[in-house]
Symmetry: C2
Subunit: 219 residues, 2 copies
DNA sequence: ATATCATTCAACATAATGCTTGAATGATAT
DNA sequence: ATATCATTCAAGCATTATGTTGAATGATAT
C-alpha cells in the first residue's frame, strides 16, 4: 500500500458513488428498500438475469449500501442503513435541481395536470389520525403485501378509473409508491387531477415512511 | 427515444453518481468548493494534466454538480449548488459507517491519539463570540487567502510544532481544513493531542461554514 | 489582422464495466 | 450419500471510462 491515505479515502468514497452509478443497481436498491428479498426475487422484480443481479448486488454490498445474510438456501439482501436511503434521495434531489432532462421527464409524467408540492409525511400522519384522507398505494400487490401505510388502498394504475368513479368529487387523495425513484405516484396523481380530483403525492415512499418509525401494516 | 420514463430518470440519477465515482473528480470538487477557479488552477491543485482536468470538469458539469462561466480568457468553475456539498458529505458518511477500510485509514491518521467527536459549527461560532478559542486553518496558504474563518491562524502541518510550543498547555484548539475529504485537520489534531494539547476538529471545513452563511474573511 | 493565452476537442492505448453462458459452490432435503 | 435448489464464480465479448498527446477553438491584446 504505497498510496497516500488521502488517495485511499477518495478511492473508498468513489467506490460508494460508483455503486450508485448504474441504473440496474439503483433499481435493485429501490426494491431492497421496499422489503428485504433474495436474489431471485430481486432479479424478477428488476428484469435482470439472476447472475447479473447477483453481481450487481455484490457491488452494492462491497460499497456497504446493502448487507446480506443467509436464510436457509436463500441469501437475503437488506438495505445497509438509513443513510443509504438518504443518499439515494439526495441523488434524486441534485439531479432534479440541476438537470434539465429530469425536469422534462417529470413534467411529461404529469400529462398536462399541474403537479402540486408533495404532502409531507408529518401531514399525512396527521390526516390519518383525523381519518380525513383517502390513501392510494399504487405499487404492485406483492410489495403492498410486504408492508404499507395504515388505511392505504392498493390499486394498480390501470384500475384507477374504476375506483375513482366511486369517490366524492371533492375528496382529498394522497398517493404514494416506492420512494424517490418511483413514478407510479406521479402518474396516479396526474390521472386523478385530470379527472378533477384533489390528488397529491406523498413526499417519499414506503421506505422513507418506515424509516421514520411510523406505523406500517403487513398483510 | 423508446426507453421508458423510469429508465430515463434512472439514467440521469446514475449520471450524477457516476460523476462522483472517480477520485480525480472528487478532488476537483473539493477544490472547487474552496473557491471557484479556472482549469489551470484546478489542474495544478489536483496534480492532473490540464486536458484531463478539463475533461473531468465537463463530466461534473454534465451532472450538474458544477457550473462554469467565462471570465476573460479563463473559464471559472463553481460549485453547482449547496446540495453538491451535501452529496459529497453524505458519500463520506456512508463510507465511514459501512466500510471497514475507511475506518482503518482514519484511525491510522490519528497516530495513536484518541480522536474526540468533532466540534459543531454552532459551537465554534459561540466560542468565537466569546473569544475563548484558538483556531488553526491547516490548508495551504493560497486557499487560506481565498477565505477563512475569522480569527483563524493559517499554519502548515510541518510548522505545527513551532507554534504549538507558544501555546498554554490547557488551551483549547480547534482545527479545520477543506471539508469532508480533507485529512489535514485529522493529522493536526492527532499531532497536537500527542503533545498534550486539548485539540479538536471542526465538523466540516470552510465550504460548509461558508455555505451556512457564516462570516468568512478574505485576505 | 495577428499573436497569445486558456481551454477544449480528437484520436489513441489501456483498463475497467456490464451482461451472457455454463460450471462450481453451499445449504437443505430425501 | 445423493439430489435439489439458490447463489456465486469464471470466462468471454462488447462497451465505456481514463489519461496522454497534439491540434483546434475562442476570447483578448497588440
Amino acid at each position: 500500500m504505497s498510496i497516500s491515505p488521502k488517495a485511499a479515502l477518495l478511492d473508498e468514497y468513489a467506490l460508494v458513488a460508483r455503486a450508485l452509478s448504474a441504473p440496474a443497481r439503483l433499481m435493485l436498491l429501490e426494491q431492497i428498500a421496499q422489503a428485504p428479498r433474495g436474489v431471485e426475487g430481486l432479479a424478477d422484480k428488476t428484469g435482470l438475469s439472476i447472475a447479473n443481479a447477483s453481481q450487481h448486488l455484490q457491488t452494492l454490498r462491497r460499497a456497504g449500501l446493502v448487507t446480506s445474510r443467509r436464510e436457509g438456501k436463500a441469501v437475503i439482501y437488506t438495505l445497509g442503513d438509513a443513510k443509504s436511503l438518504a443518499l439515494m434521495d439526495l441523488l434524486r434531489v441534485v439531479a432534479e435541481r440541476n438537470l434539465a432532462q429530469v425536469d422534462k421527464i417529470l413534467r411529461g409524467l404529469s400529462d398536462g395536470a399541474d403537479a402540486p408540492e408533495p404532502v409531507s409525511r408529518d401531514d399525512l400522519a396527521a390526516r390519518i389520525a383525523e381519518g380525513s384522507v383517502t390513501i392510494f398505494d399504487v405499487r404492485p400487490a406483492d410489495e403492498f403485501a410486504l408492508g404499507h401505510i395504515p388505511g392505504a388502498q392498493n390499486i394498480a394504475l390501470p384500475e384507477l378509473h374504476l375506483i375513482a368513479s366511486n369517490l366524492q368529487p371533492g375528496a382529498e387523495i394522497i398517493a404514494y409508491c416506492r420512494g424517490p425513484y418511483c413514478i407510479y405516484a406521479h402518474q396516479a396523481v396526474a390521472a386523478l387531477r385530470n379527472k378533477g380530483f384533489n390528488a397529491r403525492r406523498l413526499d417519499g415512499g414506503l421506505p422513507e415512511w418506515r424509516e421514520e418509525g411510523r406505523q406500517v401494516v403487513t398483510a
